[in-house]
C-alpha cells in the first residue's frame, strides 16, 4: 500500500543538495544591535546590505555588512519600543531577515 512513498523517497535522495541559504540572526547587547549572518553551508558572506525597518515597515537605515558577516549599530530607544526588522541582502544575491520584538530588545538591553 505504501509503494509510492518509497518511490518518491528514492527519487528525492538521489539528488545531493548543496544548500547554502542565508541565515540572519540579530540580538541586542549593551544597547547595541548585533547582526550576524552565515550561509547554511558554514561560509560567511563577504559583502551585503543590512536594512533596518521599524514596526510600520518603514526603512530607517541601510548599513554595509562587515567582511566577517556581522554588523553592530547603536540601539535607537524610540525604535526599541516598537521593535525592528533586520533585512540582509548579500552580494551573492541571497536574502533573509530577522525580527526583533520589543520584548526581545528589552531582554537584551536589560531594561
Amino acid at each position: 500500500m505504501r509503494r509510492i512513498f518509497a518511490t518518491l523517497a528514492v527519487v528525492a535522495f538521489a539528488t545531493a543538495a548543496q544548500a547554502h541559504q542565508l541565515n540572519v540572526f540579530a540580538f541586542v547587547e549593551d544597547s547595541t544591535v548585533v547582526v550576524e549572518t552565515k550561509f547554511s553551508n558554514g561560509n560567511l558572506p563577504v559583502s551585503g546590505d543590512v536594512r533596518v525597518l521599524n514596526a510600520q515597515s518603514d526603512l530607517l537605515m541601510t548599513l554595509p555588512l562587515g567582511t566577517d558577516g556581522t554588523l553592530r549599530f547603536p540601539l535607537d530607544r524610540k525604535v526599541a519600543a516598537e521593535g525592528m526588522t533586520i533585512e540582509v541582502t548579500t552580494g551573492e544575491g541571497h536574502e533573509d531577515y530577522w525580527i526583533l520584538t520589543p520584548e526581545d530588545i528589552a531582554r537584551g538591553s536589560g531594561s
Binding site: 500500500m1 512513498f5 518518491l8 543538495a17 541565515n23 525592528m84 526588522t85 551573492e92 520584548e103 526581545d104
Partner: protein, 300 residues
C-alpha cells in the same frame, strides 16, 4: 460623607470589574500555530477553553507568510507554539521563539518525511547549485496527522495541567475522526476507476504515498486560469501518465472546468487546507474531498 464613600466604592468596584475582564480573557491558555490544520486540532483539543492564534490572512499561503513584529510578539506570548515542521514555514527560523513552549509536531516521524525534487538555480560566482526540499503537507496522510495531534495534545496538557483531562478526552475523539478519514482514504485505490491522477500543484505527496495513489503534479497558480502553454503541458502529461482524473487545489473557473472536461478528465476540488477554509471545518472538508475522489474513481 457616607454617600461619597459609597460612590467611591461603586466606582472602584466598576473599575475592578472592568479591569478584571481583559485579565480573565488573558488568563485563557493560548496556542499559536503556523497552519490551519494545527489550529483546528488545537481548537478541538482545547474544547472551547483555549484560544487559538493563527495569524495568516485568508488567501495567503502560510508557507510564505512573513509576520510583522506585532505578530511575533503575540506568538511569543502563547502557552504553546505548535509548528508543522517538515520545512512547512520559514518564519519560525527568523525570530526568537521560546524553546520550552515551541513544538515541532512532525519531528517524531522525521524518517517518514518525503524529500522532493530539489530547486536548482544560479547566481553569483558559485555557479549552479541546489536547495534540498521536503514535502510539508504531512497532515494529508491522516495517520501522520494523528501523530501530530498526539504531540500537540501532550504539549498542551503539559503547559495547561488544569485542562489535561479534557484535552485527553478531546484528543481521543479527534483521533477517532482522523482514523475514520484514514480508513476511508485507504480504499480509494481499490475503486474500479482508480488510476493515475494529475494535480494542479505539488501538495499531495503524503496523500499519494499513504493511500497508494499515483499523483503527478503541475505548478499551476491556484488563483489564475491556466495559460495555453500550461494546458499544452497538461496534455503532454496526460499522454505520459494515462491520467483520467485531475485534482484542483482550489475552485477553478467555469471555463477552466469546461476545458478540463473537454480533455476527458474527471476533475475534483481537493483543498489541502493549509489556510483556513472560507466555510466548513478540517474534518468536514476532508470528508467532502474523499467523497469527491471516491465518486470520480467510480465513474471511470
Amino acid at each position: 460623607m457616607q454617600m461619597n464613600t459609597l460612590c467611591r466604592r461603586s466606582v472602584l468596584g466598576m473599575l475592578l470589574s472592568v479591569t478584571a475582564m481583559p485579565l480573565a480573557a488573558q488568563d485563557r491558555p493560548v496556542v499559536a500555530t503556523d497552519n490551519y490544520p494545527l489550529a483546528y486540532f488545537a481548537d478541538r483539543l482545547g474544547g472551547g477553553a483555549v484560544d487559538t492564534v493563527f495569524l495568516v490572512p485568508a488567501g495567503t499561503d502560510p508557507s510564505f507568510w512573513r509576520p510583522g513584529i506585532a505578530d511575533i510578539s503575540e506568538i511569543q506570548s502563547a502557552d504553546v507554539i505548535a509548528l508543522n515542521g517538515a520545512g512547512f514555514s520559514t518564519w519560525p527560523t527568523k525570530a526568537s521563539l521560546p524553546r520550552s513552549r515551541t513544538i515541532d509536531t512532525s519531528a517524531g516521524f522525521g524518517d517518514r518525511l518525503i524529500r522532493t525534487d530539489t530547486v536548482t538555480h544560479s547566481h553569483g560566482e558559485g555557479g549552479e547549485h541546489s536547495h534540498a526540499a521536503t514535502a510539508s503537507y504531512t497532515w494529508l496522510d491522516f495517520a501522520l496527522a494523528q501523530e501530530q495531534v498526539k504531540v500537540l495534545a501532550d504539549a498542551m496538557a503539559r503547559q495547561m495541567p488544569d485542562n489535561a483531562a479534557s484535552i485527553a478526552r478531546e484528543r481521543d475523539v479527534l483521533l477517532a475522526d482522523l482514523d475514520a478519514l484514514d480508513t476511508r482514504a485507504m480504499v480509494l485505490s481499490d475503486q474500479p476507476g482508480a488510476g493515475p491522477v494529475i494535480a494542479s500543484h505539488p501538495r499531495y505527496h503524503y496523500f499519494a504515498a499513504a493511500y497508494d495513489l499515483e499523483i503527478t503534479a503541475l505548478e499551476w497558480d491556484a488563483t489564475e486560469d491556466p495559460t495555453d502553454a500550461q494546458w499544452a503541458t497538461l496534455e503532454t502529461m496526460i499522454a505520459d501518465t494515462g491520467a483520467r482524473h485531475f485534482i484542483w487545489e482550489a475552485e477553478p473557473s467555469a471555463a477552466a472546468q469546461r476545458r478540463m472536461s473537454a480533455l476527458g478528465l474527471t476533475d475534483v476540488v481537493f483543498s489541502p487546507l493549509a489556510n483556513t477554509p472560507s466555510e466548513g471545518s478540517f474534518i468536514d472538508r476532508m470528508r467532502g474531498a474523499l467523497d469527491a475522489l471516491e465518486s470520480a474513481f467510480q465513474e471511470n
